[in-house]
Subunit: 508 residues, 2 copies
């Protein structure tokens, strides 16, 4: 450590105007000419900046060409969710180069995302950079992460079309192509709105870190605005009415966190408006429909007890400050969170690949996309083809993670057998197909309580837990699943500080 | 703790379809009719929503009227920087109600802000909510924090005009007035651009948390974009050229943090582009001009050693991808940070109050604004009037903090003497005037090195330190100054994790 040498380099010196000191500088002197170097590595020659660009359409640039037979084969992974990241983690980078294309450079630890909306956890504690999951991405000369969206496939030529994500600044979006030896489509799904008007404009989903950030900012904004002098009672109630649509685990967990936040933090820190804040959970059927009957009733009772209103209804229309239910009743809101499940994204719909029931990319038992070579699909974007005789698996982190793990082992096996290059896997014995075994479902419902349903399916027998023990099991289970030690550490620290100091309310 | 009762409430249950279990539910049952309550507290009567509003101009609402003689007098504080927050912390809330008006609900711990741009520290660790600094704000019935801007003063009627900050959503901005007994103007200053074209559009300042967030996002974006296939060498160099204009402590600290980030993190995690990233610090005169000559030379040498190019130059024009210096040379950049000092904000300029040299609000030795009653000004927005014979103090956190503390003691004294109400302080003996004693300056320069200049002024004699010991002194000094224990704890944790795991590179 170089800085240790500086440990003793300190000095008590007098004013610089004292000539005796100036003559013998104790630290050091450098000639001013030396200090201000020129910017010689830059040219002002305009011709160099004259790339053949047009701001109207993205510029077509080169890309990564096909690998040569002596080179490592290239696995291209589209997406950085549970499926794609688990796959990348497991890929043997001695066998393959890995190229990931995704609009975000991190994986979101989705089971804990709801906790970040109210500050129980911090945003960064639930985001895991891809480079930490698979370090080769940032080190190996042939492995890359590209901040880009996939815009299309050319399976005939083993090519992926991409376009950079630029957030509108710094430079125009650029198009480029990547040749693959093996392609893994792990593009996930999209929040479904059922075509209801106004959902995309006025509701916030809860799938990415920026959604959680927006919810937190808006919640704090509404808490502060409702305190402004002269605001009517009606307007105060509207601003502080948090409506959650969708009673699945995400909706329930967010409602639970929100009511915890209200009971523990709002009452103390927003004493002026504490009686105006309410949470309403709207669900067309019943909440947590995949859970054991008794757990569901327990959740219902606990949520009701902690102040969450459960409303059975179907949303017909969403306006900027109110939503309208099927029966015509109006529900004014200040914050609207939408979590009614997911469906295939427009890109997945547009791909010219076989589809499973429900419009996902159709796969066989080895997670391959039949009819094309070297293409696999995992996670929420994929589903078993009807011809496999298997049902489409639910859109759960657990399924995606298991598929990513299975496929990384399969690809490593193919690579070791010398089938890593394009069209090279034809004679490789694939071994056992992918079999999904459900390990149970968990959902937290606030107030140090959670549900754990360890049954393998809705009809099976098994163990269900509810209450504090489940909460403890739930927290521990998640703590050991958060991928890096850094984030495990931060999650524990966040929970501890929330417990001791309460949640942070800085609106940054 | 109510949840302890749930500790043992768990059960191993069989499938819900088993009739023997359904008959004796182990957890609990609730009638569905009971579960789904109605939304009776909402009315669908349109007339109630028909506030007399116009979206074109903010609605004028009521506000807080004058306090009555038997009520606690009200201190209105404009701003939530070092001066305003230190004042609020010191105000005796048994004597006064405190009302704070500011567009942000937290104080930014500015000396550590540069560290958050590259992830050495987290954003929340340097933001202290006002409600944690002065808990009465959120609890006392007469104390408030308003998320609003001051738009003008009516000193004749002891009134502050305000308008809510709404970020453009949820509701239209609203106007309201607040009557004050004592008014403390602590509005701070604004980054100066010297009228140079393009600075506001293309450069990022470094004064608020959202600035640091933007810098971090843009830096990570550029690192990723420069890795896209087909990008020219020239473009790569531009994207990864970080230019800092202004060689004061903020500019130097940010440059130091940036070069630390490059040396420790970029080299490892962005191995593909590590040779393209450079930092240039542009300063018209010399860097750290307020520091001891020898410390300055030491800083110059250290920064140069860690790869920061120091360029002497004056910026003439700023374009989206390059800036132009006075001598005509062009400097392409990917990230431009501007920190060339501060000047009075448009609001401060517009106030019809006496002004100090430099256009700040003029104050006397007791920090009062003469010619009006019950108005005080502290921090960067204020300066001693020429008539006091004192020089205007530098725009430093140290000055603001000291003035806030002094004024809180003065106001408490006035309050105890019964002079808290408007026009009530005329006969109160104010005691000693405010005297500023400079305790020294500190600046970190990266690589575990910092400068500490303990001289009271540029001409005085005193102690100067440079190197690791100073870095240690600097870190410790700041750790004990971060206001809450929560944030002290988080700063220490952040530093420790940065040291162990490196900086986080999730772009969220």
């Amino acid at each position: 450590m170089a800085w240790v040498g500086n440990l003793i380099r300190f000095s008590a010196i007098k004013s610089a105007s004292s000539p005796s000191i100036t003559a013998k500088p104790l630290i050091l002197t450098t000639s001013p000419n030396f200090l201000f170097s020129s910017l010689s590595h830059f040219t002002t020659d305009a011709s160099l900046h004259n790339h053949n660009r047009s701001s109207a359409s993205p510029t077509q640039y080169g890309g990564l060409g096909p690998t040569k037979p002596k080179e490592k084969p290239r696995v291209v992974v589209l997406g950085s969710g549970w499926a794609g990241c688990r796959l990348m983690k497991g890929i043997d980078t001695k066998l393959y180069d890995v190229v990931c294309v995704s609009p975000r450079n991190h994986m979101v630890f989705t089971p804990l995302l709801a906790s970040t909306c109210v500050g129980t956890l911090e945003f960064r504690s639930v985001a895991e950079p891809i480079a930490r999951i698979q370090p080769a991405i940032s080190k190996e000369p042939g492995s890359f992460y590209f901040l880009a969206n996939c815009t299309g496939l050319d399976t005939h030529n083993h090519l992926v079309h991409c376009q950079t994500v630029t957030d509108g600044y710094t430079m125009d979006p650029r198009k480029f192509d990547i040749s693959y030896d093996k392609l893994v489509i792990a593009l996930g799904a999209e929040a479904s709105t059922f075509g209801i008007q106004g959902v995309k404009e006025h509701a916030i989903f809860l799938r990415e870190v920026h959604h959680a950030q927006e919810i937190r900012r808006k919640l704090l904004l509404n808490l502060m605005l409702s305190d402004v002098p002269g605001i009517s009672e009606e307007e105060k109630r509207r601003l502080l009415h948090c409506v959650v649509v969708g009673g699945g685990p995400t909706g329930v967990e967010f409602s639970g966190e929100l009511s915890d936040f209200i009971m523990r933090d709002v009452r103390q820190r927003y004493a002026h408006v504490k009686d105006y804040i309410h949470v309403t959970l709207i669900e067309a059927n019943e909440i947590l429909s995949s859970f054991d009957d008794r757990l569901r009733r327990y959740a219902t009772k606990q949520l009701t007890k902690s102040g969450v209103r459960l409303v059975r209804g179907i949303v017909k229309d969403v306006e900027p400050q109110k939503l309208i239910l099927n029966d015509g009743s109006e529900v004014p809101y200040g914050l609207l969170v939408w979590s009614t499940g997911v469906g295939p994204s427009p890109l997945v719909k547009s791909l010219d690949l076989p589809k499973s029931p429900g419009g996902r990319i159709g796969i066989d038992e080895w997670l391959r996309v039949p009819s094309v070579q070297d293409v696999f699909a995992i996670g929420d974007c994929s589903g078993f083809l009807e011809s496999t005789g298997k049902t489409v698996l639910p859109a759960l982190a657990q399924v995606a993670e298991r598929q990513g793990k299975y496929l990384s082992i399969l690809l490593n096996k193919i690579g070791r057998a010398g089938g890593g290059h394009a069209y090279g896997a034809k004679d490789v014995e694939l071994g056992d197909p992918f079999v999904y075994r459900h390990l149970g479902s968990m959902a937290t419902i606030g107030s140090f309580k959670a549900l754990v349903d360890l049954r393998q399916s809705k009809e099976a027998k098994g163990i269900s837990l509810a209450g504090f023990i489940s909460w403890f099991v739930w927290r521990s289970a998640y703590l050991t699943r958060v991928i890096s030690w850094r984030n495990r550490f931060y999650v524990a620290i966040n929970w501890a500080t929330t417990f001791v100091f309460g949640r942070d309310i800085s609106r940054i």
